[in-house]
Symmetry: C2
Subunit: 327 residues, 2 copies
């Protein structure tokens, strides 16, 4: 019997979840739940669309609800609320608020004998796991995270809000020399500026003042002022051709030493190169939906994180098969 | 109260475990157990040495026994036997025999209310975890493992057994073009020869026939005949200077696609660069010793693998700290 998944929210992430479910033969997508008019939403693989208002009618029809809303306003409300009725998975990524969110979801899920996992994706998510394994195995060392090369949607949005900008993409780029020093086990202390640069591709409206726009970008507090930023003004054609995707990626590096006097260096590197940030995040969510389904059936109620879940719970195949094949 | 560890077997791996324990403030090494005369063994950090025959006297003094023997003859006997009396961790790495070993250890551990984890290290071990996460997240794709550049002790030993050879080191080297194709998402089908080359540094005895030695190496069944092998004859001085260590490493790569028609490529790469194979393996063993200790106290008896254990069980710090810091 396949695992019945509901998709709550239907933007890039929701579409990615729908496609990821289609790749996994042990799962089926029961429905997409939207706050928009259901008839206005067309799904990629033909999954039916329902109004979010009707979601509670699906309690017996859905094994795990995958929440695909945003971390700013959607998930802090939706995940605790839905955890009262469903097993849930979300990609909540507001780092500082994770403990609070965890607590809120845990209370609801526990009371309802449901299982939840929050902050699933690649960072937080697979990168967090990489950091934990790295620090646990090499207890004397330093952990570094570099993001990119990839599109930061928040930074791209910030540029688009500048007067005169028609469209924009911002790439976060790791500084090659910093990466090299970390990989060589030099354990450098790196400032924000020394770790990443920001590269912007901007399409302007007719007659816009490029010098002003460039200045506004480079001096923008929080987003750009602490970085070395490059601004390229390009045509709409070039933008559509070369900058329409949402690639991302990065690396988590643990650099540590062992031996009687720390004489041997070791480097653990977990890296991702992703053509589609949203679709990869969706693939991680779907793997953890499988884990949540199994945990709940075993009576492991409450809210978990990726750090709490044994790797084997993500696998489609049985434990015996995976041990024989992968160990 | 710190976790009390016993070290059973004292070669490179045992010494590595001793040094790793010294790096972890929540652990202490209670004793080294050896089949040699205890007075003939000097430990790195002054841990007391006992005869292996006395190990059962330590049942109340040791929380976890880390087994540091070899997979060929030591561990298949020692791990099941010691699992009757201790929580145990081993690095059993004879891939084909893991299911059988797991069963043998599981039965003993379960009956004795002890917890065991077998096949801990980097491969099997961290690489196995990397393969499992990769396949679970990107369900449509291929998994590749490349080893090296690093010293294969088995291959080095095989060369040393050739008549006229005084000393030898064999490096396993990934083929750069194959790595590049995999990283580019080309999903190549690779033969053994196309994945790795073998590079040998050989010191010969006076008057030895180098041409014959080179021929014997290159045609050696199982070890070299399926590979492109390079043989360098070097002086003993050069050997001591440049080839005295046991570095190793490698990468596990999962290359997969997502989207409606698999149009987006993704690459997950877990890589290791290790100055000391034995010391890194030892560091992984020690992290899992911590996990075994906790699992046994929670009543999770029997034999586990790295795939079964939640990442958080490896961490020295509390779950709350790790969630706040790493997630």
């Amino acid at each position: 019997m396949s695992i019945r998944i509901g998709i709550y929210g239907y933007g890039n992430l929701g579409r990615g979840v729908e496609c990821a479910i289609a790749q996994n033969s042990d799962m089926q997508a029961v429905g997409v739940f939207t706050r928009r008019a259901p008839e206005s939403v067309k799904t990629v693989t033909g999954v039916p669309v329902y109004s979010a208002d009707t979601v509670l009618d699906f309690q017996d029809k859905i094994d795990v609800m995958v929440l695909c809303g945003g971390s700013a306003t959607d998930l802090p409300k939706q995940t605790p609320e839905l955890a009262k009725y469903f097993n849930v998975v979300d990609s909540f990524d507001t780092h500082a608020k994770i403990p609070e969110h965890l607590k809120a979801v845990h209370e609801r899920a526990l009371k309802a004998n449901k299982t939840a996992v929050i902050s699933v994706g690649w960072d937080p998510g697979m990168f967090s796991i990489g950091r934990l394994y790295g620090e646990s195995v090499l207890s004397q060392g330093n952990t570094y995270t570099f993001w990119g090369k990839g599109v930061s949607q928040g930074h791209s949005d910030a540029i688009r809000r500048i007067d005169g900008v028609a469209n924009a993409k911002q790439y976060t780029v790791p500084v090659e020399s910093a990466l090299k020093a970390v990989r060589a086990g030099e354990n450098p202390v790196l400032t924000t500026r020394q770790k990443h640069t920001r590269e912007c591709f901007v399409v302007v409206k007719d007659g816009a003042d490029k010098a002003r726009i460039e200045r506004e970008i480079k001096t923008m507090p929080h987003y750009f002022d602490e970085y070395d930023t490059t601004v390229h003004f390009i045509s709409n054609e070039e933008f559509e051709k070369n900058h329409s995707g949402l690639p991302h990626g990065g690396v988590v590096i643990r650099s540590g030493v062992t031996g009687e006097n720390g004489e041997n260096k070791h480097c653990i590197e977990y890296g991702l190169k992703l053509d589609s940030n949203a679709e990869f995040t969706a693939s991680v969510l779907v793997a953890y939906a499988r884990a949540v389904y199994r945990l709940q059936r075993e009576g492991a109620f409450g809210c978990k994180t990726v750090l709490d879940i044994p790797p084997i719970y993500l696998a489609k195949e049985s434990r015996e098969e995976m041990i024989a094949k992968l160990l």
